[in-house]
Amino acid sequence: MNKNPTVGVLLSRVRVEEKLLLQELASRGVETKVIDDRTLVLPTEHRPDLGVDVVLERCIQHGTALYALSILDGWCVPTVNTYEVAEVCGNKLLTTMRLVRHKVPAPKTRVAFTPEAALTAVEELGYPVVMKPLIGSWGRLVSKVNDRESAEAIVEHKDVLGNYLHSIYYVQEYVAKPGRDIRGFVVGDETICAIYRYSEHWITNTARGGRAENCPVTPELNDICVRAAKAVGGGIVAIDVLERDGELLVNEVNYTMEFRNSIDTTGVNIPAKMIDFVLDVAKRAKN
């Protein structure tokens, strides 16, 4: 009889990260079911019978992840991460509010609901500012706004061309980075590793060409990353951290973290740590 729980991996496509996670599960002999979100049908009226003890969510689409988790969590199917974490991390405003409420340092942020108020928010913070869509990743549609003319143009484009969510204007102070930012990987109560992301461009995402180097996890970095993780609900999350004159600020929290560029860079077996956590969640749920 298999002592290990059965792990469901909810995914859209098998990218490098999902392949590594599946290989880690296979290497431990863990019974694994791949659940393709493109063919998944979930009932709402009763507990979904997926035949697994825990679901590791690895969807590529935030909407799919969010609503699948809402049903699974609603029926007490253990998931990593939880619906709460997906809901909060998938929305920059909700993330900001959690960080603020938990006193985790973050860039100053203003939110407005009309183009006119958005321009007021921009000028209140002072140029340059950063405007971001509430939902989105990989630095898409994130704009550095240097002056009034740029602000007017971006606000008009968002108002005319975007869906309704683009008319909720999220404006953040621009933090001048020292050519890099930090990504901390949190699993449970620990920042297991971190990388510096270097780029000539102000957007440093490795998905956008940023270069990764190992970043030592100092007690200060561990503290802010773990506090940010707890603020959004905990689990397995990647924390984007900005440095400003020796101060650390949490910029974003990612709940379906990508880590392909960070295993060799840090020397930490990130998928192994993730699977340890997933199995622990399943075991705790069984007891």
Binding site: V16, K19, V34, H62, I135, R140
Partner: protein, 44 residues
């Protein structure tokens, strides 16, 4: 292009010539399809 023997259905592979992302849609025999472009809510 060559697909590794450990490839799984749904895996994303890159064409070594043009860099296009392809999805493994079948294993035996191997079939590939152009992977879809990123959409607005794709990401981490």
């Amino acid at each position: 292009m060559t697909v590794g023997s450990d490839a799984v259905k749904g895996e994303i592979v890159s064409c070594p010539d043009c860099g296009a992302e392809l999805e493994v849609t079948e294993i035996t025999p191997v079939a590939l399809a152009l992977a879809p472009e990123a959409e607005e809510d794709w990401g981490e």
